[in-house]
């Protein structure tokens, strides 16, 4: 089992995507929108909070217009740095602006069965299996609920899913499948049991919560209530905009950023007004609709730009960013999946997004594939290596070594080569075999990735969850009635 998490840190690569003036312009435009157009908050509790802080609330439409200053002051209360705690503290994830972590993608509805190869509806056992594989892989730093447990009752499904992950992994869990205050409270109570009490949970949040905004310029009532409950327990909460250019956002990328920013900022400000100092994060997965059919695309050059640009905004507000990357629209692990997932993840990494979501889903985050999960991890490995950049110093310039080898010599057996050999990236799934070998076997990355996933499933035994704690968690789950 991996007692370590692979992340990107101390990058030598960087990207100039938005100038400081651009960022300011987007910021001012977003505040203007929040002030004069407003954002919809369909939750009585949220509206009360806004009202008590002097924002203008229209009770009929539930649209809130808040002065820019109120938003700015609220955001200043957000901690710039905090840690996503893991049950095994070695696997804690400091969100300090100097790490990029990858999670699993989430809420898939179908699974490509690893044994039969058939596509079928996802069940609780899939959540367990995926969590176990994710627990093993060092590239996966934390979990989202990867697929929905459709064999569990809808009112407590999100809780069964959490338990399934906790039973199979000691890494941090972020839920994106809970969107009611009631379920969020039960989830926080479960996390408190695991952490050893509410105070302990506040110090070491084992769970974080991601909610969606509703573009353009709206929120979902249940999601708002869930976020507020999370913040009450000290769990990091974030709001993710999926503003889609040409349908739920302007066709121009800058306009899309304004809409998404207004939604996320207003959500985070609400949380800070209610619980000053609560850990929050910016989350985004903007996209462009498919112009021919209106479908969700899951990739494309604009999406890749959004990944990097959103991070500039999150940096400006001094809060961590969770960014949608990977999440290809491809239907099987193929050229498109490799292309989209590489570029989206590279761009988000270049801008040092704190959390990237996530590996494993195909077809616009709907179909789980273990093969894709494993191959996505290799993509992240390549990008992590690139982010190290090129170190230039006496030892790496190697002038003396070059002198010793001289014209026409070889570096193959030189001590310097041996010293630095293991710094060179190693492939697991890129096919570098001779053509004739390939021709005979006709296999490749998907086959090897499948074998790897199978062997992890067969052999990896995660640290077990104490049966008494599990009982306690089950008791909380069963308290939720339809």
């Amino acid at each position: 089992m991996s007692e370590r998490v692979k992340s990107i840190s101390n990058p030598r690569l960087s990207l100039n995507i938005l100038s400081p003036e651009d960022v300011h312009a987007i910021h001012r435009a977003s505040l203007r929108v929040i002030e004069s157009v407003g954002v919809r908050f369909p939750s009585p509790r949220a509206l009360d909070i806004w009202r008590s802080h002097g924002a203008e609330v229209d009770p009929g439409s539930m649209v809130v217009r808040a002065p820019g200053r109120l938003i700015e002051e609220a955001l200043q209360k957000a901690p710039p740095v905090y840690t996503l705690a893991a049950r095994n503290s070695v696997l804690d994830l400091p969100l300090d602006g100097n790490h990029v972590y990858v999670g699993t993608d989430g809420c898939g509805v179908e699974v490509i069965d690893i044994h039969t190869g058939e596509r079928r509806r996802s069940v609780l056992q899939d959540v367990e299996n995926i969590a176990r594989v994710a627990d093993y892989l060092e590239e996966v730093a934390f979990h989202w609920v990867p697929v929905s447990a459709q064999d569990c009752p809808p009112e407590s499904r999100g809780l069964h899913e959490l338990l399934a992950i906790w039973k199979n992994s000691t890494k941090h869990v972020q839920t994106e499948s809970i969107y009611s205050g009631r379920e969020a409270r039960a989830a926080a109570e479960m996390a408190a049991v695991l952490a050893g009490g509410k105070d302990a949970l506040r110090r070491r949040p084992l769970l974080s919560i991601m909610e969606c905004t509703v573009s353009p310029l709206g929120h979902d009532g249940g999601s708002l209530d869930a976020a507020l409950v999370g913040a009450e327990y000290g769990l990091p909460v974030g709001f993710m905009s999926m503003a889609s250019s040409a349908s739920s956002a302007p066709a121009t990328p800058a306009g899309n950023l304004v809409v998404a920013n207004a939604e996320v900022l207003s959500g985070l400000a609400l949380v800070e007004l209610a619980y000053p100092g609560a850990p929050v994060f910016y989350a985004a997965a903007q996209t462009v609709m498919d112009l021919r059919t209106g479908a969700y695309t899951g990739g494309g050059p604009e999406d890749f730009l959004f990944g990097a640009a959103s991070n500039r905004l999150a940096d400006f507000y001094r809060v961590p960013l969770s960014m949608g990357s990977f999440a290809t629209g491809a239907k099987e692990p193929n050229w498109q999946a490799g292309l989209e997932n590489s570029l989206s993840t590279f761009m988000s990494s270049l801008a040092m997004s704190d959390m990237l979501l996530g590996v494993g889903l195909l077809s616009g985050s709907t179909v789980w594939s273990f093969v894709q999960m494993i191959m996505d991890c290799e993509i992240f490995g390549i990008i992590a290596k690139m982010m190290e950049g090129i170190a230039v110093n006496e030892e790496t310039l190697a002038v003396e070594v070059i002198r010793e080898v001289g014209p026409g010599g070889t570096f193959l057996t030189h001590g310097h080569t041996k010293r630095h050999l293991r710094e060179i990236w190693q492939n697991s799934f890129l096919d570098r075999r001779p053509f004739s070998v390939w021709e005979k076997k006709r296999d490749g990355a998907p086959d090897w990735a499948r074998d790897k996933a199978k062997s992890i499933l067969e052999t990896h035994r995660p640290a077990p969850l104490n049966p008494e704690l599990e009982q306690e968690l089950r008791r909380i789950i069963s308290s939720i009635k339809p």
Partner: protein
Amino acid sequence: MKKEELFARIEKAIIEGRKSEAEDLAREAVKAKIDLTEVIEKGYVPGIQKVGDLWEKGDYFLPELITSAECMKAAMAVLQPELDKANIKTKTKGKVVIGTVEGDIHDIGKNLVASMLSANGFDVVDLGADVKLEKFIEKAEETKADFICLSALLTTTMLGQKKAIELLRQKNLYGKFKVLVGGAPANQKWAEEIGADGYAENAMLAVKLAKRLMGA
């Protein structure tokens, strides 16, 4: 303005998606007492058909297609009272009640299905998102609908599609409306399992399905 010139201008307004012009020309046609069936058949319909062709060929994109459909709808609204007065029945392909089921706020896909059905001559009542199941049935009865279209994007809310059909059975209304389902977690098998009349993976296929079920 000559009749032919008016038809050409109507066709152009629809193709270029200019709403107020499409409406103005409708008013002009009424004022000039031109046969309205002819106005529709030779002006508006060829316009929207060309738009459809342009979209099929890939020259037009969805925003253009929907804009033209909305122009068409606006112009028809101008003509409707006159058609009623003259007792001319316009052909509707069928009446549709559509919405996203309760607990679910995803509405982008549902909106698209509604727009495309409406663009293709269906009469559409859109109940919005997060709609109570009873409401679908009430509205369908009230409007004597042919279709109830249930959109659901979540694995939790797709169960609402099943419940709606159970509700129809309880009320002895099963079979009275054709029930169509769609959204990310739904599929053909699910539709069959719950006794729906059809499933479609996107708005264009939904139109085809609805037309087929109407025997058109």
